[in-house]
């Protein structure tokens, strides 16, 4: 079932498993990951971190540590507050309290691993030695160890004497009570998802390089969004008072004019930004309630305005060892290292270790969902009531964390099904745990809960899991139709077809007999299915339905494409690939448009000096559609420009010019062709203003056009061993539709990798805190990542719904991880159904399986 990989060839590249352009570099040790950056005179950072979940800092003594060999400086939380601005959440949503916090904590720590000081030394080992000598006196506070603690008003507040419920919202779609009153049955259940963690094989890291001569700043970073990191660091660093910034601006009036000019340019390009943002009323309310928030924001903004170009960093992201969402944030550590380098005027490197990464590098999931489905006896869904509690830990991820995820969870909850009415209540709570970040479908709980719940409804009603889905899933004849939450399911929404195909491939109708026969032979088998859709990138209004006012910034994908003086073509993208193979896929797309071989294309990324600005970077399963789209259209424009010149040079009409395998010629006479290098020479002769090394430059932006969905059904078979509690996965089938596939091997790799993480979640992975908030999974011996022995072969069946839409590419980055926990858990419950087992949480290690099956007694309920 594996794709045959083909080599670069002259023809159509899109649709073929072209070998990866990045591999020769990465497989020979020539890759350059952030830890590979070694600069002469570079210093090393290490953090002093809290051993307590919740405590006041009474005193911090650094004198002994300062005397430790190699130590250059130690910056405590108190000093850090003079160097940087606080993180100020940018989302203004009704009912949201978004706490402000600094890069280091000075008065109070809020989770195990909370950084309280940064040590800068000549070597990493010396910095780590000195950490041991920093004496911090803590006075512990009762911990808010989990969501139920957070909902308990007797527990101490984490933030400013406010409730630990930071965000409380409710949305009603339709006449919910009436629908429930008219139902044959209302079936309810509570589900949980344990806290897990992305854990890319490369931890986080940053090297802040300060040029000793020019003092220019280059930030080498493992980040999913280079421009986001650049502007967050620029905004929050070099704290100056408001009067000081005004004074700087008075002396440097050009900085005001420059700002006004660029603001005007942005508003001309995006007139929709002139409209008052839908976030405005909530923002004004936030400021009224907390005037210091307004002051903090103004101080940071004025500071940014007053900065010279040289005081802002450029970010350089080269090779990145995976992320899955965790490197989409600007972290407190990033800002602390940056501030230290600025203070000392010297380059500083910080590479997180695995223990730190497990503690504080980003966790995810950790939700409780109460759901009720109102149904008819035949399984027809009449409505849902959903109540979500999301535990985002102590410090919200920046710029986007739990409160944003809660909104996507809300919008996505109906999935590709007919949900006539829905009530959605949500709470985002603060606890003494690490930061919740995006992880490969940060909204995935909607798929887990909905798809589990359909199985429970089917069991209650005595129909099959396939039947309940088929009764409710939107068929293609009904398209287009909006989800009850707003986004449009367009005519390519083929979730129904993936379900029908998967049922056929799984020989689902004969499953009960096969299962019974196996059981008679002592084999406990189960089959689970789950269906979903993901916004990849979603219909045009998707962001507006999630966070009104966010669409204008989030929706745009820019790219540049340049015919260079030597005849090579550069594709310059704001995407920051970290395993997705964009150097290959974007080259495939451009090569087909231009009629040139892949070897003639270089994809450039990760360097804010040359890449076009966008905040989103790589994430959200967006790059196939967004970057694939913009590169298609930009390459097409470049081709037009090339053809113009060729037509002149060859005295032919434009229509007769063809480019094949890099040969530009008149149709029918390839022998008399010219090269792109020839075109480049002529283009430079015509355009005296072309930049050095460039012949023709095209810049485009793409709003995603029709956007669209990726959809899939997974079918998973399990064999459960009731002696050992082990779950084997003899077969796993995926039927998916992501539109036109650019590179099948890359698509399949994304799907398989996501499923592996989903299997890991269900069978092995759990971030654990005890009831006092003490962290318990600090090594890879405690937090188990699946190995090659635990991941089954995965069959992938692609379908493609035909469409007239150009660049009909959609993303597949997150789907595997979103669906697999539901499919696998459904399979396990199906296997154990005859024992009366109901499964509420996708964490099923052997002990839990044996417990559910009644083989062993229920252990003390495990801490969350």
């Amino acid at each position: 079932m594996r794709e045959t990989i083909v080599g670069p060839f002259a023809g159509k590249f899109v649709g073929h498993a072209v070998r990866r352009v990045e591999d020769p570099r990465l497989l020979t040790g020539e890759g350059r990951y952030v830890d590979d950056v070694q600069l002469s005179g570079m210093l090393h950072a290490a953090f002093v971190r809290s051993p307590h979940a919740h405590a006041h800092i009474r005193n911090i003594e650094v004198a002994a540590a300062r005397r430790s060999p190699g130590v250059v400086d130690i910056i405590t939380g108190a000093e850090m507050e003079t160097l940087v601005h606080p993180f100020i959440g940018m989302l203004a949503l009704k009912g949201l309290y978004d706490p402000r916090f600094y890069a280091l904590s000075s008065k109070r720590v809020r989770h195990v691993g909370d950084p309280v000081a940064i040590v800068i030394a000549e070597s990493r080992a010396q910095a780590e030695d000195a950490i041991e000598l920093v004496e911090v006196s803590y006075e512990t506070i009762e911990a808010v160890a989990n969501a139920s603690d957070a909902l308990d008003s007797r527990k101490p507040p984490l933030w400013d004497n406010r409730s630990n419920v930071l965000f409380d919202f409710a949305n009603t779609y339709g006449e919910v009570d009436a629908a429930f009153a008219g139902a044959d049955r209302v079936i309810s259940h509570q589900f949980k998802e344990q806290r897990v963690s992305n854990q890319p094989m490369e931890t986080r890291g940053i090297v802040v390089e300060i040029d000793p001569k020019s003092s220019a700043i280059t930030v080498h970073a493992a980040t999913q969004s280079a421009h986001m990191l650049k502007w967050v660091l620029a905004l929050l660093s070099d704290r100056a008072s408001i009067p000081a910034s005004i004074k700087t601006l008075a002396i440097n009036r050009d900085r005001v004019t420059r700002f006004a000019k660029s603001a005007k340019a942005i508003l001309t390009a995006k007139p929709e930004l002139k409209e008052p943002s839908p976030m405005m009323p909530a923002m004004v309310k936030q400021f009224r309630a907390e005037p210091s928030r307004f002051v903090d924001l103004q101080r940071a903004m004025l500071g940014l305005l007053a900065k010279s170009d040289n005081d802002r960093p450029e970010v350089l992201a080269r090779d990145i060892g995976g992320a899955f969402g965790t490197k989409g944030s600007a972290s407190r550590e990033d800002l602390a290292v940056y501030a230290a380098a600025r203070k000392l005027g010297r380059s500083v490197k910080w590479i997180e270790d695995r223990n730190e990464h497990l503690m504080g590098g980003g966790h995810s999931r950790d939700e409780i969902v109460d759901i009720s489905m109102a149904v008819r006896n035949d399984g027809t869904l009449l409505g849902m009531k959903v109540s979500l509690t999301l535990d985002q830990g102590a410090y919200p991820a920046f710029p986007f964390g739990g409160s944003m995820f809660s909104q996507i969870i809300r919008v996505m909850f109906p999935g590709p099904y007919r949900v006539p009415v829905m009530q959605f209540n949500g709470k985002v709570v603060a606890t003494n745990k690490g930061t919740l970040v995006a992880y490969r479908g940060p909204w995935a709980v909607e798929t887990f809960v909905r798809e589990r719940m359909f199985d429970m409804v089917a069991r209650e009603l005595g129909i099959t899991a396939a039947e309940v889905r088929l009764r409710n899933i939107v068929t293609m004849a009904e398209l287009p139709t909006p989800m009850i939450t707003g986004p449009m399911l367009d005519v390519r929404m083929s979730a129904h077809r993936t379900l029908v195909d998967a049922i056929a491939i799984a020989d689902y109708d004969n499953w009960p007999a096969a299962q019974l026969a196996a059981r008679a032979n002592g084999k406990i088998l189960g089959l689970g299915i789950a269906t979903f859709c993901e916004a990849a990138p979603g219909p045009p209004d998707f962001f507006e339905h999630s966070i009104p006012g966010s669409g204008a910034l989030a929706g745009i994908e820019p790219a540049k494409i340049v015919l260079e003086a030597d005849g090579m073509v550069a594709v310059i993208t704001q995407q920051v690939p970290h395993g997705q193979g964009h150097e290959t896929t974007l080259a495939q797309v451009a090569a087909d448009q231009l009629g040139i071989p892949i070897e003639a294309i270089r994809v450039r990324y990760g360097d804010t000096k040359i890449t076009p600005f966008a905040m989103m970077g790589t994430g959200g399963s967006r790059s196939a559609a967004m970057a694939g789209g913009v590169v298609t259209f930009a390459a097409r424009e470049l081709k037009e420009r090339i053809v113009d010149i060729a037509a002149d040079l060859m005295e032919a009409s434009r229509e007769d010019i063809v480019i094949e395998a890099g040969n530009v010629h008149v149709a029918g006479v390839p022998a008399r062709g010219i090269t792109l290098a020839d075109i480049a020479v002529e283009a430079r002769r015509r355009d005296q203003n072309a930049a050095p090394g460039e012949a023709i430059r095209v810049a485009q932006e793409f709003d995603g056009g029709e956007g669209g969905w990726t959809q899939a059904t997974h079918a998973c078979w399990v064999e459960v061993d009731l002696e050992t509690g082990q779950v084997a996965i003899p077969r796993y089938v995926v039927v998916e539709d992501c539109g036109e596939i650019i590179n099948p091997a890359i698509v399949d790799g994304q799907i398989r990798g996501g499923i592996a993480q989903g299997i890991g979640q269900v069978l092995y992975e759990k971030i654990t805190y005890d009831d006092a908030g003490q962290f318990q999974t600090g090594t890879f011996m405690d937090y188990l990542i699946p190995t090659a022995c635990e991941i089954p072969d995965i069959e992938i069946h692609h379908i493609e719904t035909p469409s007239e839409i150009e660049a009909n590419y959609r993303g597949v980055g997150e789907g595997g991880m979103v669906v697999a926990p539901a499919a696998l858990t459904n399979a396990i419950e199906n296997a154990l159904a005859h024992l009366g087992v109901r499964i509420s949480e996708p964490y099923l290690p052997p002990s839990k399986i044996l417990e559910l099956a009644g083989v062993i007694q229920t252990a003390r309920s495990t801490a969350r």
């Binding site: 990989i5 070998r19 990866r20 094989m201 695995r354 395993g579 091997a745 190995t787 090659a788 595997g816």
Partner: protein, 164 residues
Amino acid sequence: MNSTNSRIAVAITVNGTAHELQVPARQTLAECVREELGLTGTHLGCEHGVCGACTVLVDGQAARSCLVLTVQADGATIETVESLANDDTLHAVQQAMVDNHGFQCAFCAPGFLMTIKALIDNQAVLTKATLREELSGNLCRCTGYASILAGAEAVLGLTGESNA
């Protein structure tokens, strides 16, 4: 702290080049090749012996360089991922991985490549199932392993056999 000051003389051969080094007693072999010798192809994923990203060959045997001190490797011959390719010609295991889209972010790649090279060099007798076990000491978070296994099976000549 004395450990940072006292240095110990070691002689190691890395990728065919002999080095005489004065290293801190606590320096790991991984730090030695990465920082001292600038061979950053060897990666550190966990620094506690679980992930296998740091795997190098010590006298022909796969070893986790995060768990080996440089002084322990005194007199040894070390091979890192940088030794695999011969100018522009990739080693068979590298080529097999290119041909099978073995890796994504490739942070884990040096460990897998060196582990598989040791299997090839030592003429390990394997089935598809035992290959999985041999590679289970190397973690990859991106791929779900199928593509890495496909590459390994290809270079080890296990492609024909059914998935035993």
